[in-house]
Amino acid sequence: MTAQISFRNLTLGYERHPAVHHLSGDVEKGALLAICGANGAGKSTLLKAIGGALKPLGGTIDRHGLDPREIAYLPQGAEIDRSFPIHVYDMVSMGLWRRAGLFGGIGRADREKIEHAIAAVGLEGFENRPIGTLSGGQMQRTLFARLLLQDARVILLDEPFTALDAKTVSDLVELVRRWHGEQRTVIAVLHDFDLVRATFPQTLLLARTPVAWGPTAEALDPENLLKARRMGESWRDDAVPCSDAA
């Protein structure tokens, strides 16, 4: 297997305080990887950095030639202005940005793709609904339809199933499985260990410092979970420079 994304002694953070500390390892092409850990463990920070929105404080992220903008990224509770007068159809069609850009026309083939994506997330008939009238689940389905259109090799999902009903979760998990079947690399931040164990073959357990990274059953064994809990959160004003820093 070849690596899609490699971390080398990666440290990420804000104002020099580390949120992810000394992470090394490879995410293989086509991997379906869950990132687990307590709040404040650095999970979202890590996704941001993979997507190119955050520069490392130390170490490197190697995307093996992939432009960060070719990575599809669904942030946690995406900061979407729901009052903006735009319809589901247009919202989903934004997924074509990489191909259509500023001026590219949206042709018949694209329209079919958009309709397929909307159908795939179960939103047929909602095309002309303003996004402000959607429920939380319908909004998340819309965002997944947009992800489908982005057709990205690497997909980052930050707590994509939070606050959704069981039916919506199982529908969206089905899409994630489909991406995995298509050899896409999917990295998702999740809190639901049962879901992770059932769906994600690989897990990275973070507590700022990586606790475990490997097959899900091993990474989430009781010993590792206890270790992660003990490491907890810390952010001290009087922290001194890290002695391991290169």
């Binding site: 903008r69 990224y73 942030p75 903006f84 735009i86 990489r98």
Partner: protein, 290 residues
Amino acid sequence: MSLYDTFISPFVEFEFMRRALAGVFALSLGAGPVGAFLMLRRMSLTGDAMAHAILPGAAIGFLFAGLNLYAMTAGGLAAGLLVAVGAGVVARATGMKEDASLAAFYLISLALGVLIVSLRGSNVDLLHVLFGTVLGIDDATLVLIAGITTITLLTLAVVWRPLVLECVDPTFLASVSRSGGVSHIAFLSLVVLNLVGGFHALGTLLSVGLMMLPAATARFFVRDLTALVTTSTLIAFGSGVAGLLVSYNLGTPSGPSIILVAGLAYAGAVFFGPIGGLAGRLVPRRHLEA
């Protein structure tokens, strides 16, 4: 007095009314869409801040060259763009929020303008800059306004997609493209351009009115972006025509008349607008089946 005398003959008989009409038409074409986006981006008050930022630049131009169209335009543009771009860059490069950064810049600009004017010790008559003279628009001003409108519409065509995307989902835009920052600054420049175009007709402070009032009014009638932009433009032009007629027939100053007509339309929309208007809330209708 016949309807013809009230509504048509002012434009037929007087060239200055026809010029004013053309000026208001061109201004509306630019101000409509710019105002709609200002509102959607929750930057309604940014227009007002920019108007204050332009004032000193225009005043300095006036100070050095008198009532010279080009000197005042250049001064206003320079001051406005400096503030818009400076504030935008600081907001994006640091942790400072856009509104605070803009407030800092425009206040510095305003204070600097007042300082320069007072240093010259001249008691400048700035009424023209403050309130404009839509009835005194000459050919050069008309060409300037039309030029600004043309630039506005062309630029909007270029930055439309990123502009919309940045309003709805800025994180997504940043994840697929770097055009967010550029389109934002292009848009701020358009705000400045249209304010500068508007101040010859309506004055710096009131030219914001032709952007914001029609956009805010349109929001009570339409849910769709394209419709919002079109409706804002139509309301702006309608207010312009009606305001000119009020000004002609009642002898009121033209700039405030135009903005007050737009204000009246807004007040009407607040009460009777079908989308979120007060009347709809006070008189509940039976709920729907689904």
